[in-house]
């Protein structure tokens, strides 16, 4: 796949730059845009973004690797994030994590061979009142249970 934004995305990049006094500050939002467009932040994507924002490659790489939400490898179509931090652990969030892990044979940050599901054990998602919390891609599922998550995962295609 050729790594390049289309005209609309480039327009978006210009809009992003307007929010900041320096080009460098556009890096995080542009990486978000790149992840949305290309799926993950490969070294090629880092290079592309570096060129686009006139930054050294090392700087882009440094930022992309510092922040956990920028994927450094391809993840599943459905990225299943299970919170096991304190409030969720108290409500058995770790059982949900282990269940999903066993069900699809996935360890943390692994993806099924068909590319459908990936699993991540996440830190507090800021939804502790709804513990245990599972987030699939961008959607929060609060007060979840092994049963509800099973049902949900099986309904996805």
């Amino acid at each position: 796949m050729e790594i390049a934004f289309n005209a609309q995305e480039l327009e978006r990049v210009n809009k992003i730059k307007d929010h900041y006094p320096t080009e460098q500050a556009a890096l995080m939002p542009v990486l978000w845009l790149a992840q949305r467009t290309f799926g993950w932040i490969s070294p090629d994507v880092m290079q592309y973004v570096a060129d686009l924002l006139h930054l050294p490659f090392a700087q882009v790489e440094g930022v992309a690797t510092f922040y956990t939400m920028y994927f450094k490898k391809p993840m599943g179509k459905y990225h299943v994030q299970v919170c096991t931090n304190v409030s969720c652990m108290l409500m058995d969030g770790d059982s949900i994590y282990h269940h999903v892990s066993k069900k699809y044979g996935l360890k943390n940050m692994e993806t099924t061979s068909d590319g459908k599901f990936s699993l991540e054990e996440v830190e507090c998602m800021g939804a502790c009142g709804g513990a245990p919390v599972v987030v699939i891609n961008e959607d929060y599922y609060e007060l979840s249970s092994i049963e509800s998550i099973d049902k949900l995962l099986e309904s996805l295609n």
């Binding site: 929010h19 900041y20 006094p21 320096t22 460098q24 500050a25 556009a26 890096l27 995080m28 939002p29 990486l31 978000w32 700087q59 440094g62 930022v63 510092f66 922040y67 956990t68 939400m69 920028y70 096991t84 931090n85 304190v86 409030s87 652990m89 108290l90 409500m91 996440v122 830190e123 507090c124 998602m125 800021g126 939804a127 502790c128 009142g129 709804g130 513990a131 987030v135 961008e138 959607d139 929060y140």
Partner: protein, 442 residues
Amino acid sequence: MFDGQKLILRDIPNLHLIDVYINNGGYETARKAFSMKPDEVTNEVKKSGLRGRGGAAFPTGLKWTFMPKGNDKTKYLCVNGDESEPGSFKDRQIFEFNPHQLIEGILISGYAMGINAAYIYIRGEYHRWINILQTAIDEAYAQGYIGAGMREKFNNNYSIDIHIHKGAGAYICGEETSQMNSIEGRRGYPRVKPPFPAQAGLWGMPTTVNNVETIATVVPILQMGGEAYSKIGAQGHSGTLLYGVSGHINKPGVYELPTGTLLTEIIYDICGGVRNNKKIKAVIPGGSSMPPLRGDEIDDVRMDEESLKKIGTHIGTGGIMVMDEDTDIVKITLRIAHFYHHESCGQCTPCREGCGWMEKILKRIASGNGSSKDLDLLVSICNNIEGNTVCALGDAAAWPVRGFVTKFRDEFEQAISKNKSFIAPNVVHGKRKTASNLVFER
């Protein structure tokens, strides 16, 4: 006087829509503030006794006076919505249910400090809430409540632009100097202080960092006056707080209540008591960085910074985590230590090494291979981290671990003991009272 009315999570349907907000007096307080001198606005905030809601409970009005005066220099406001402290989920309620009050709070705060640009930093996981807030910002721009349009709208020559900066998964970016690096497009390493943000913050310019809830609270303060606000809640830490209650509780959620409310009242009366009518073994009062309280310590505890400080803990973010009598304290402590180890940026040795070491020891204890020396070792590691690091993440890691190990030593001893018939005496809060007028939904 406070009449139980909510000042932030107001009970008005669809308040996130700009028309509804305006019909309920929205943006009128900004108009009022703009008719005052900037210093007068800051003075009201000082008089109100408002203290920061981001964790450190620093007096907000005082913080604002650290900013250089005048309009000759670019200055920034950084609104902290990173909300990554485990147990905290309150700022999200503001994004969702009252985003315009946050915007109005930014207008007023910015005016008081002579700031023309604000960045709201929101954790990357909050995609949905970022969208809600962005919509509110767009609407406010369109109607002239933000940006250049303000001059005409408010018939005044002040204006401010508001930008959202989306994080990407790093707890440390809640720390104010790390957050500024993150906004500048760098890795989120905390900066050495001094210089303080008010001297050299974002892009080297004077910057004030305040929590989302703090800024949203500025609106009712200017509306009712600092004096009136200071009479709400506890002396020394006035106002209402958004308490986020989670864990083994019948009705978890975010509740806006006056500061100084009894912890037992929040747990038993407001949140319907403990799940399955269990007793309480431990409560973390303000997010996972704060030292825990033992079940037998929670009677008469009032939830404000001054009261909590007296008993060795803090209000933090107001995130109350309730743990029942069956909770495995060793496991919880290990989970907390793992979190801080994972989130340490690695810049300073005591934090990087200390957090790793603590996790390793706790793992050993949890798996039954610990020794009694390990407990003293843990406490001494905590003592070595505390106060010896660039940012407060070090303290945040040390406090809960030391708190759990010292307050629940029996449980750790039990985990270490080879004699499996040894049972730790279970110190719990035995009050099983639950308010009779509550109906349980769960």
